[in-house]
Every structure is written in structure tokens, then in C-alpha cells.
């Protein structure tokens, strides 16, 4: 997009989970902004609120959980003001989502073709054959051989990498403005992971869509994201372009995340937050 206006902009997001004792604030004052053709990486450990933020944007968190934001808009559409019915029209059509576990995110008893075409017919209508053609086209695009035959396959007949490709094709079926990928490569082995990352990056340049990439792995995020947001305990602790953030991490938590990636010549030591991790040989852990 030339004007550079954000596809998604979220201001001051709060997610509160009521518990019997006191309400638990899972996400506190998080801002998200992503432009067309750009990828925002959200990094953080388990429970840091990164996935919850992604689900909150989709308004997929179940009722007792409260989501509040000063601003939650997709393009010029105010998502927080939409009825559930209108929101369902946005999901899948304008926002596509890719999940962590391709094993469980596909319905085991429906064929791949049915799951792909169903989304398309739900949002775009039209003839089943048109939806089928689009499904075959996308399956080929995401690198699935014999795509037309694969439409009849059940998820368990495909390997993990192929299943994740199917998920990606499914998210792309309606040509969304925004893709939210929640740990899309975590369940895959490293070589497949690299292929999927390349595929996502390629698709993004092709379609010019915005992407939010959630991961606990700062190495993966560094590879695909343009801007990065580091989350810890429900807050954004650091945000910036991927280059700046990797070169000059200012927050101790970001440094801790970076130092968690082992390199040759490292030994076990204490990270800036005091946890056992890899540190540079002989170097004093920064305080």
C-alpha cells in the first residue's frame, strides 16, 4: 500500500480473565499496528499474552473473558463495534488465521477439499466448481503436489508439513487483508519450518497482505518479520524494527530471549533475569 495506513491498528488492548479470586489480566495495554505487505512479529514466552492478543483481535475469546481496546480497527472497519454475526463475515474473509498444530486444526473427518471450499462458499458464494478451482490453484501455490487429487485426502493422510500448507491455503482462500499466524512453524521440524517461512514470505510479497506472526522463537521471527514486538507478562516490553531490536536490544528481557539461542563457544550460565541459559564463554552476564 502506498499511503502506508495500517491494515490493523489496535490501541491499548486489555484482556481480562475472571477467576474465582481476582480477575487475571492476560494482556495489559498492548498496541499493535501492521501495514500492508509488512509482517509484525510478536515474541514472548508461554503465557506472555501473545496468542491471547491474536485471538482477541479475531474476537475469538469465549464470553467470560473480557476484551477492551481504545481502538480495534481493520482498515476503516471498527471491529469492536461489530455484532457477532458481522464479525463472522470478517473472519476467514478479511482476516485469515493459521494455527500452531496442523494435526488438530484440520477437521479429521472432512476431506481437505471440503474444508477448503467450505470457507470460500461461506464468504464468497458462487458455484462449488469455482471454489474447487480456487482450492486447487492455492494448493499448487503452497507447494502441494498433485493438488487436484489431494482434495479427496483426509488430514491424517498428509504429513505435518503438507497439513500446514493446507492450513495456509485455507487462510488464503478468500484473499484476506491480514493473516494471523499463531506459532505456525512450532510443531514442524526445522527443514520444513524453513520452507514454510519462505512460503509465507513469498505469498506475502505476492498478495501484499499484512501478517502478524506469533512465535516464542526470536530466531524464526527475526527471519520473517519487519517489525517486532516483545511481550512479557501481558505487556509489550520492547518494540521496533527487527534490525534495531536484534542489533541493540534495550530491554533485559529481549536480551535474555536473544541469549537463549545457543551459539558455538557458549556455556551454561545465568541470563540477565537470573535464569540458567547459554552465555558467551567467559563473558560476564550483563546486569
Amino acid at each position: 500500500m502506498i499511503d502506508g495506513s495500517p491494515v490493523l491498528s489496535v490501541r491499548n488492548l486489555h484482556v481480562t480473565i475472571p477467576t474465582p479470586t481476582a480477575p487475571f489480566v492476560a494482556v495489559e495495554g498492548v498496541d499493535l499496528e501492521v501495514k500492508a505487505g509488512e509482517t509484525l512479529g510478536i515474541v514472548g514466552e508461554s503465557g506472555s499474552g501473545k496468542s491471547v492478543s491474536a485471538l482477541a483481535v479475531m474476537r475469538l475469546l469465549p464470553p467470560p473473558i473480557m476484551v477492551e481496546a481504545d481502538d480495534l480497527r481493520l482498515g476503516d472497519l471498527d471491529l469492536s463495534g461489530l455484532t457477532e454475526h458481522r464479525m463472522a463475515d470478517v473472519r476467514g474473509a478479511r482476516i485469515g488465521m493459521i494455527f500452531q498444530e496442523p494435526m488438530t486444526a484440520l477437521n479429521p473427518v472432512l476431506t481437505v477439499g471440503r474444508q477448503l471450499t467450505e470457507t470460500f462458499l461461506r464468504h464468497r458464494g458462487g458455484r462449488r466448481s469455482a471454489a474447487r478451482d480456487r482450492a486447487v490453484h492455492l494448493l499448487e501455490r503452497v507447494g502441494i503436489p498433485q493438488a487436484a487429487d489431494r482434495l479427496r485426502a483426509y488430514p491424517h493422510q498428509l504429513s505435518g508439513g503438507l497439513r500446514q500448507r493446507v492450513m495456509i491455503a485455507m487462510a488464503l482462500m478468500c484473499g484476506p487483508d491480514l493473516i494471523i499466524a499463531d506459532e505456525p512453524t512450532t510443531a514442524l521440524d526445522v527443514t520444513v519450518q524453513a520452507q514454510i517461512l519462505d512460503l509465507l514470505a513469498g505469498l506475502q510479497t505476492e498478495h501484499g497482505m499484512a501478517m502478524i506472526f506469533v512465535s516464542h522463537d526470536i530466531g524464526v521471527v527475526a527471519r520473517i518479520a519487519h517489525t517486532v514486538q516483545v511481550m512479557h507478562a501481558g505487556r509489550t516490553v520492547e518494540a521496533g524494527s527487527v534490525h534495531d531490536l536484534l542489533a541493540r536490544p534495550s530491554h533485559p528481557y529481549t536480551r535474555a530471549l536473544l541469549s537463549a539461542i545457543p551459539r558455538p563457544g557458549m556455556r551454561w550460565g545465568r541470563d540477565p533475569l537470573g535464569a540458567v541459559t547459554w552465555t558467551d564463554d567467559g563473558a560476564e552476564a550483563p546486569s
Binding site: 486444526a105 467450505e118 503436489p145 505435518g160 520444513v192 520452507q195
Partner: protein, 294 residues
């Protein structure tokens, strides 16, 4: 690319067919049920006599294996001279019709309640659980007797009453199965694709529940057949002269010491049918076994 060599296996349908072909209980039960269905469907053609035709000159003729038996009446005749084999064959129609219709009716009720309770949980679940408990507190045969004696013993009244009384197992089984499924990621994924709640329930969850559903349904068919026989035996089910196995046992009970065949044959028919249906149900449970769905 390393992952292009997809792991291809047989489709779930092929796997199930393979298991079905090698399951002795399922094959035996399936054969019994198949014979019953065929004879029920073709009853007017294969029955040697009219099941309603009385012939008082030929009352209580013995079956063919007795010394004076003839091939004209293979199972002999009853107290009104009606051909017993023909009545048994026509009785299969009544039993199967009631069994299948009652299981379908109760299946619809129980599936709806179980799905809704399992998916929504919370207050909805509490209400449905209360309804299930209330239903379990009702003695089926007494309620059925009361209703049938109030409204009469027409076939469709019996079917309706049984439908309204036999849904509990469907509801209980589907509720817990749905509870396990609702937290699966594909449900969230379906919502993320913009599926509405009814669509998730019917198009995403229900196909995953076909296994338990069919198993419970087959067991309920047997249950309904037994209950119909009991009601007819007590004189409150299907009314004479309709040939119903329960009714035939009731009509024969006065002759039990003189001609045990009058009770033994319809009794055996009931037992064989329920056995066949239950064997099919047990077999289906093995065939739909979750470990088959890798």
C-alpha cells in the same frame, strides 16, 4: 523439499470396511439383521399365507417337525388357525419399524441435547443435565404403560412414546464426546474461518460423532424392540390382530403347557433380533474405534 512425499494411507472408509469384514460378531449380527430386514421388506411376497386369515377348522396345527405336521404350515397355526410363520414374518415389520423409528426419533432429541450441552457448557449444560437426570428418574415401562393406556395403543403412539423416553443414552454419550471435541483446535479454526455456531455444531462436530452415534442408535433399536414387545405383551402396545411378536407371546401364554411353540417361536424371534442388533452395535463400536483414526 522433504515433505512432498506425503504419507498416504487408506481412507477412513476403507479402513472401516476392512475391519468390518474381519469382525466375526459384526458379520453374524449383520447377517441376522440383514435376513430380518429382507423378510420384513418382502413379507407380503415371502409369507406363505395371509397373516390375518383365520381358519378355525385348522386351529393349533403342529409345526412341520411334529409327527402330524405338514409343510403347508411350517410353524403350525395359532389358536385362531392363522399361519404362524406368516405372522412371525409380518411381525418382523412391526418390530423393525418401531425399533428404527423410535431409535431415530430419540436419536434426534438426544443428539440435539447432547451437542448443545457439550458445546456450550455452563448454564446450558446444567439445564440439560437436569433434564437427563429427570428422564433417568422416570421408569420407562411404567410411563409408557400410562401414556399408552391414556392415548391408546396405536403404532405411532407407541413409537412417539418410545422416542420421548429413549433419548437419554444419546444425550449422555454425545454430551461427553462433544466436550472432548469442543476444545480441539479445529473448532477454533472453524470459527476463525467465519463459521456460525449452528454450522460448527452440524457441519464440523457432528461428522466427528457419527461413530458413537451409530453405536448408541443400534443399541437403542434393540432396546425399543424389547420395550415394544413388553408393551404388546401387557396388551398396551400394538393392538390385535396386528402381528407383533410381543402380542403373539401374550396370545400364546394360556397355551404354555400344551403348545410351548406358540411362545417359544416369537420369543426366539425377539431374542434373535435383539442379539443381532446388539452384535451389530458392538461390532460398530470396534469398527469406529478411535485408534483407527490416526
Amino acid at each position: 523439499m522433504t515433505d512432498v512425499d506425503a504419507i498416504d494411507g487408506p481412507s477412513p472408509r476403507q479402513l472401516m470396511l476392512r475391519r468390518a469384514r474381519t469382525h466375526p460378531g459384526f458379520l453374524l449380527g449383520g447377517s441376522i439383521v440383514a435376513v430380518l430386514i429382507v423378510s420384513a421388506l418382502t413379507a407380503p411376497v415371502i409369507a406363505p399365507h395371509d397373516p390375518y386369515a383365520q381358519d378355525l377348522a385348522n386351529r393349533l396345527l403342529p409345526p412341520v417337525w411334529a409327527e402330524t405336521g405338514t409343510w403347508d404350515h411350517v410353524f403350525g397355526t395359532d389358536a385362531l388357525g392363522r399361519d404362524y410363520l406368516s405372522r412371525l414374518i409380518h411381525g418382523a415389520r412391526v418390530s423393525l419399524l418401531i425399533g428404527v423409528c423410535a431409535a431415530t426419533g430419540s436419536g434426534v432429541i438426544g443428539t440435539f441435547l447432547g451437542l448443545v450441552a457439550g458445546y456450550f457448557g455452563g448454564r446450558v449444560d446444567s439445564v440439560v443435565s437436569f433434564i437427563i437426570s429427570s428422564r433417568l428418574a422416570l421408569p420407562v415401562i411404567l410411563i409408557a404403560l400410562a401414556v399408552v393406556s391414556l392415548f391408546g395403543g396405536h403404532l405411532w403412539i407407541v413409537i412417539t412414546v418410545l422416542s420421548l423416553l429413549l433419548w437419554d443414552r444419546f444425550a449422555v454419550v454425545l454430551r461427553s464426546a462433544t466436550q472432548q471435541l469442543r476444545s480441539q483446535e479445529f473448532v477454533t479454526a472453524a470459527r476463525a474461518m467465519g463459521c456460525s455456531t449452528p454450522r460448527i455444531l452440524l457441519a464440523e462436530l457432528l461428522p466427528n460423532l457419527v461413530g458413537p452415534l451409530v453405536v448408541v442408535a443400534s443399541l437403542e433399536v434393540g432396546h425399543a424392540i424389547l420395550l415394544e414387545s413388553a408393551l404388546s405383551f401387557l396388551g398396551l402396545g400394538v393392538q390385535p390382530p396386528t402381528p407383533s411378536w410381543g402380542l403373539m407371546v401374550a396370545e400364546g401364554k394360556d397355551m404354555i403347557f400344551f403348545d410351548a411353540r406358540l411362545i417359544a417361536l416369537p420369543g426366539a424371534a425377539i431374542a434373535l433380533t435383539v442379539l443381532g442388533v446388539n452384535l451389530v452395535g458392538d461390532g460398530l463400536r470396534d469398527i469406529f474405534a478411535p485408534e483407527g483414526r490416526a
